[in-house]
Amino acid sequence: MVDWRLFEPLFNYARKKSLWIVAFCTGCGGIEMPPLMTSRYDLERFGMMPNPAPRMADLFLITGYVTPKTLKRIIITYELQPDPKYVLAHGSCPLNGGIYWDSYNAIKHLDRYIPVDVAIAGCMPRPEAVMDGIKKIMEMIENGTADGWKRYKENYEWYKKNQDELFGEGWREKEARRWIPWLKKK
């Protein structure tokens, strides 16, 4: 038997060099993603690219504020991702609500519902700030401190409790079936 843990530093090095992003623009920060991906800031030189399928993605960029309705989809998408997976929260809103601190429909602390590895402050963060955050997460992946996905597994009960408190029990099934009667109606 090979002890794969011996190769972990090598794997981490490889992971840091090929971060694929879930293409899910959750808020207004989505407007800075195309400039980041295209010729001026060119994130592809870091080995990153947006990918439509969460099954093939490593990095989840929460671009901006999160509403409860979106958070349901974020949680489902996050759980669809395969295991080492990292979350980068973009802007002030996922940190403490930002300018929407008194809005009933914006999440105030995102890290109560899913683990966040790196948060970038600012509204809206400049592409350079996002690149700085990405550099930070690369460092963390290499030295093994980006362990949000492990925390999510270990403290799943706590995260689930917070999610259920916000959305009510059984929200997944409810969300999946919501539109069936309306689609059946003529």
Binding site: G97, D102, S103, Y104, H109, L166, F167, W171
Partner: protein, 172 residues
């Protein structure tokens, strides 16, 4: 005579129950009783007000009334018309007939007004369909003036009282 006055006169001849006036250049205003709104909007559509821009609900808490402003825009005259009507703001009495057969787009605006203010539009079969609000807020009608906005937000997200020193006033 300015074109706005001509339009107002023309409409008022057909609808003597309404009040109308010219607010300024390219803006005219009508006040209509709530039960004759459908009739009146049909007259407006015949008079080349082709598009409905928005249905605004203004919550006049002191008067106990909702003011519904049907905003129409005429491409022919380049005039914007406010058609105002007042209905009681109690949940069981805030009912209006739908105008979606006159202006089809009104269906969307009516869903919007129902979701945020609780005005029920009779005849619009999409009234119960989920719109912008999520399950938790449905039926709370959060844009009404008597909705405890900050208190609800704090309870929902379990955030502490660290934003405002003074409980009655917003700091921002």
């Amino acid at each position: 005579m300015a074109k706005e006055e001509v339009i107002v006169q023309k409409v008022l001849e057909k609808a003597p129950y309404a009040e109308g006036k010219v607010k300024r250049e390219r803006r005219i205003e009508f006040k209509v009783p709530a039960d004759r709104i459908r009739e009146f909007l049909m007259i407006m559509k015949e008079n080349n007000f082709e598009s409905m821009m928005q249905i605004t609900v203004v919550d006049w808490l002191k008067d106990g009334e909702f003011e519904l402003v049907y905003q129409l825009w005429s491409y022919t005259y380049a005039v914007h018309a406010f058609v105002k009507t007042r209905i009681p703001r109690d949940l069981d009495k805030a009912r209006m007939p739908t105008v979606k057969d006159i202006y089809p787009v009104a269906e969307t605006y009516e869903r919007d007004a129902h979701d945020f203010y609780g005005v029920y539009f009779e005849g619009n079969e999409k009234m119960e369909m989920p719109w912008i609000l999520d399950d938790a807020e449905q039926g709370l009608f959060p844009h009404r003036k008597d909705f405890d906005w900050l208190g609800y937000t704090k309870r929902k997200y379990k955030i502490l009282d660290r934003f405002d020193e003074d409980k009655d006033n917003y700091v921002i």
